[in-house]
């Protein structure tokens, strides 16, 4: 086996910051190479150096690719050599068809006129390779995220890829879609495509990677080899955070009190396709001090359920009753839901949770401005006190609370969203994928916050696609599939197998 890519002593500096400090990376031809590291460790910067986003000359060190020194001036340079990146945020044009997307910028045309027959035939061949059965004319917007991810890979394959780089490919995928994607990666490996995967999901890394390189604070910490049996999740975590993590899920005294929230006979229809029922007759209780999980595949309706409960933010023709502390609550509007003691921490913090262009302080107080004002006139001194309080309590890492939120890392942004909802003073918090896309250290801190909330007697509903997280954190887990609850398991009963079998047998 020969070395396809070798990055030697790569150092990349931004004004005042050394993002990469003599990083070394060697990728063998035909292997799957995983790069692990906390958010902000420098993984993305390294990939940008590799793909020519940061052109040659803006960094120190050398890149050797396919036996020769490579000096890429831009992305098209590296793409011409078969290096293709699939970014975390998908780069598909939503309203174009699969075929149009696959050959965007690379159209099968003769003197500027597109040859649709050729395009469609080649598209079908590529879709078969990635295991998609959709017609080439299907509009990308109508596909799920998992299938869109596969279209991205098909697009990469259309360009005769030699080195495929996948940045957090499964971050937005459900369990089964993730499995399908990992299978595809292994199959591509059989066909000789070398791959680099960046991922936070260590079980997936362990499953597919031949080699793992861990990066911490801009330097290479370790390289592990599967053939030598060196890859273990604990080992990766230790190297990522620089310390042993004895418990990935902090302990909590489990005690459930009175019923705080009770949802009965909840039905919701799709906001546009009125005939589609999204939520079917859901009944749910949350007790004081309890952490209740909702497990399910992507598209099971978990987010739709949460948002429809939270001030009817999703769906139409919503029916059913909701009681808070035994009394019917009016949750027809978001402000009503907040008043009734509910909070919903969204799964999509950038587009639904934060005003990115505003400061940390203004984001934290947004859901409860009356608390920091007198007769509708804002008291900024009080606002700052509040923001500082949550900055300290949740350990938000920032030079100041007047920093704009967009300058924070994912984990710190998530803490700002949590702060906003903690300040709103809810009794029941619905956390939708609270640890998505954030690093191991920040995850641990979020778990600690959840336990703290439960100790204060608040009810927590936790929606997560990571089953180990639900199993590690929850007192009780509802299993959801196709809009309905198909089972309820206590912490003692629950296991990944039982949850999956409940989903599959329904």
């Amino acid at each position: 086996m020969k070395t396809l890519l070798e990055m030697r002593a790569i150092t990349k500096e931004f004004p005042g910051v050394k993002a990469l400090d003599t990083v070394n990376l060697a990728v063998q031809e035909g292997e799957i190479h995983a790069i692990c590291g906390e958010n902000g460790a420098g993984k993305s910067t390294l990939m940008k150096v590799l793909s020519g986003v940061y052109p040659t000359g803006t960094y120190d060190g050398e890149i050797h690719y396919d036996g020769a020194l490579a000096e890429f001036a831009d992305i098209s340079d590296s793409e011409a050599r078969g290096i293709i990146i699939i970014h975390q945020e998908l780069a598909l044009v939503p309203l174009l068809s699969i075929a149009e997307n696959l050959f965007l910028g690379n159209e099968c045309s003769r003197s500027g006129i597109i040859d649709w027959r050729d395009t469609n035939q080649r598209t079908e061949a590529l879709l078969r390779k990635v295991g998609l059965t959709e017609p080439p004319s299907a509009i990308v917007d109508k596909l799920g995220v998992g299938k869109q991810q596969l279209v991205e890979i098909a697009k990469a394959l259309s360009k005769e890829v030699r080195l495929l780089i996948l940045d957090e490919p499964t971050a937005a995928l459900s369990e089964s879609d993730s499995q399908a994607l990992l299978d595809l990666m292994l199959e591509l490996k059989q066909q000789g495509v070398t791959q680099i995967i960046i991922s936070h999901k260590l079980n997936e890394v362990r499953r597919v990677a031949d080699t793992v390189t861990v990066i911490r604070d801009g330097t290479t910490v370790s390289t592990m080899n599967a053939a030598k049996g060196e890859i273990t999740e604990d080992g990766i975590v230790r190297d990522m955070v620089g310390r042993d993590m004895a418990d990935r899920y902090p302990e909590r005294a489990r005690r459930a009190g009175e019923i705080l929230m009770e949802v009965k006979g909840w039905n919701v229809w799709h906001p546009i396709h009125a005939e589609r029922q999204m939520i079917k007759d859901v009944n749910m209780t949350v007790r004081a001090g309890e952490v209740v999980g909702i497990a399910g595949l992507m598209g099971a309706g978990r987010t739709e359920l949460a948002m429809s409960i939270f001030g009817r933010s999703y769906g139409r023709n919503i029916s059913g009753s909701l009681e808070m502390n035994g009394a019917p609550a009016n949750v027809d509007s978001v402000s009503g839901a907040i008043e009734a003691g509910l909070a919903y921490v969204t799964e999509d913090r950038k587009s639904l949770g934060l005003v990115l262009d505003e400061t940390i302080q203004r984001n934290i107080t947004l859901a409860n401005l009356p608390e920091v004002s007198r007769k509708t006139i804002l008291n900024e001194a009080r606002e700052t006190q509040v923001a500082e309080k949550y900055r300290a309590a949740l350990n938000i890492r920032t030079p100041s609370v007047f920093q704009k939120v967009m300058n924070l890392s994912g984990g710190n942004q998530q803490k700002v969203v949590l702060s906003k909802w903690l300040f709103a003073g809810p009794e029941v918090l619905i956390l939708d994928e609270p640890t998505r896309g954030i690093d191991v250290g920040a995850k641990f801190e979020i778990y600690g916050i959840i336990n703290e909330l439960s100790a204060q007697g608040k009810g927590v509903v936790m929606i997560s696609s990571e089953m180990p997280e639900l199993l590690g954190m929850c007192d009780r887990i509802y299993v959801m599939n196709e809009g309905a609850f198909v089972g309820e398991l206590t912490a003692e009963e629950a296991s990944q197998e039982r949850i999956m079998s409940l989903i599959v047998t329904e």
Partner: protein, 409 residues
């Protein structure tokens, strides 16, 4: 890494501070530089008392509408109809007063109400039906342009009674004893001095200095990065001196125009509203990220609706001021004026995507355009070149914004 980057960008030192606040200083310096330039090339005509008074009167209706437009733009929308609505309300006022013999008071109240209803009607479609504001207000622009023509039957209508003209052409009576005025006039070697105007200028300068010091102390107490002392005192000093200078000039002519009073009071109210009240804050959140604001309990539809209703009232107020100033209503009144108003707001630093912009910026932006207009007119530069230059200034301001932003990130 992003955190560290941010820290680096926020590094200490005057240079770094200037980089981060380029926009605000840039605007102020641009205004001063342009005034200085025209003062010289017009041989001092620009800052003659009569011209200063004119400058204020000429731009009053633009500034009044810029206040509302800033809110609309911060909320993430645009209003193309304000010029037409302004013309229509002026026409309505003329018909009511000249043809129907109604009193000035009733006319003003009816016109403001009509403006509010027109704005509300547009806001209704934009807020509750999610029809893009560009389309709705473009439609309204055509509708009200047509309706003013219809109302005036294509003719100019006037004149107005003196009482109505006073809205624009009146001056606030000097409440200080005449003896004091004569004494001061002798002291400064002027023909006359309006003490009220001078006193207002001095009070405004003191207030600005006091509030500047207060908020600076407060910011420091909060641990916010405060402006370097040199900048702070230079900015406060220049602003105060400029205010005193302008009001002194006014006092040697006819004193405080009524319109200036209206404009000043409205500016203060709207600046306070946008920066210090719960509703104001929510409008910024709405423009910054509508979905996130909505999920935080902000009633986004209602706020959008109110932003347009408010814009309608201000467009009506501007229409009254404009008609009173011309002493007649014409079918052409307010034609293409919406573009000047929008330009003023963008020059003042508002963002096209919403969520960013300040009242003070919009007012300074409007003055900047006003000084350009006025200076070029004094020089006798043709309307053709004037348009070209104004267009380029707008483009330059926005390019400067975008460039600054890309440099920061």
């Amino acid at each position: 890494m992003t955190d560290r980057n941010a820290e680096a960008a926020n590094g200490s030192g005057i240079g770094a501070y200037l980089m981060g606040h380029m926009r605000e200083y840039g605007l102020l310096f641009a205004l001063i530089a342009i005034m200085f330039f025209f003062q010289i090339v017009t041989n001092g005509t620009l800052l003659k008392p009569v011209n200063v008074t004119n400058l204020l009167l000429q731009n009053s209706y633009i500034i009044i509408m810029a206040l509302g437009m800033l809110i609309v733009i911060v909320a993430g929308h645009i209003d193309l109809s304000v010029g037409s609505v302004m013309g229509f309300v002026g026409a309505l006022a003329a018909v009511m007063i000249v043809e129907w013999d109604m009193s000035t008071g009733v006319t003003i109240a009816t016109c403001l109400l009509a403006g509010g209803l027109i704005g509300a009607a547009q806001g209704y479609w934009i807020a509750y039906w999610k029809i893009p504001s560009f389309i709705v207000t473009l439609a309204a622009m055509l509708v009200f342009r047509g309706l003013s023509l219809w109302l005036l039957e294509g003719q100019s209508l006037g004149p107005f009674p003196r009482e109505f003209q006073m809205i624009s052409n009146g001056f606030v009576a000097d409440i200080f004893p005449a003896g004091l005025a004569i004494g001061l006039a002798d002291l400064f070697g002027e023909k006359r001095i309006n003490v009220l105007s001078l006193a207002t200028g001095l009070t405004a300068a003191c207030l600005i200095t006091y509030m500047g010091l207060k908020s600076r102390a407060q910011n420091r107490a909060f641990g916010m990065d405060v402006e370097p002392a040199a900048f702070f005192y230079a900015r406060i000093g220049i602003t105060s001196l400029a205010l005193i200078f302008i009001f002194y000039k006014l006092s040697t002519f006819r004193g405080l125009p009524n319109v200036l009073l209206t404009m000043g009071v409205l500016t203060i109210i709207y600046a306070f509203f946008t920066e210090r009240t719960v509703t104001g804050r929510r409008i910024y959140a709405l423009g910054g990220n509508e979905k996130a604001a909505k999920l935080s309990g902000v009633k986004t539809e209602r706020l959008t609706f109110l932003a347009f209703a408010n814009m309608g009232v201000l467009a009506a107020a501007a229409g009254l001021v404009f008609a009173a100033r011309l002493n007649s209503a014409t079918p052409k009144a307010g034609f293409a004026l919406e573009l000047d108003v929008i330009a003023a707001v963008f020059i003042g630093g508002a963002s096209m995507s919403g969520g960013v912009g300040r009242i003070v910026g919009a007012v300074v932006g409007a003055f900047l355009m006003g000084v350009l207009n006025n200076g070029m007119s004094i020089l006798g530069i043709g309307i053709d070149y004037q348009q070209v230059i104004k267009g380029l200034v707008l483009l330059a301001a926005v390019i400067f914004d975008v460039y600054n932003k890309s440099k920061q990130s």
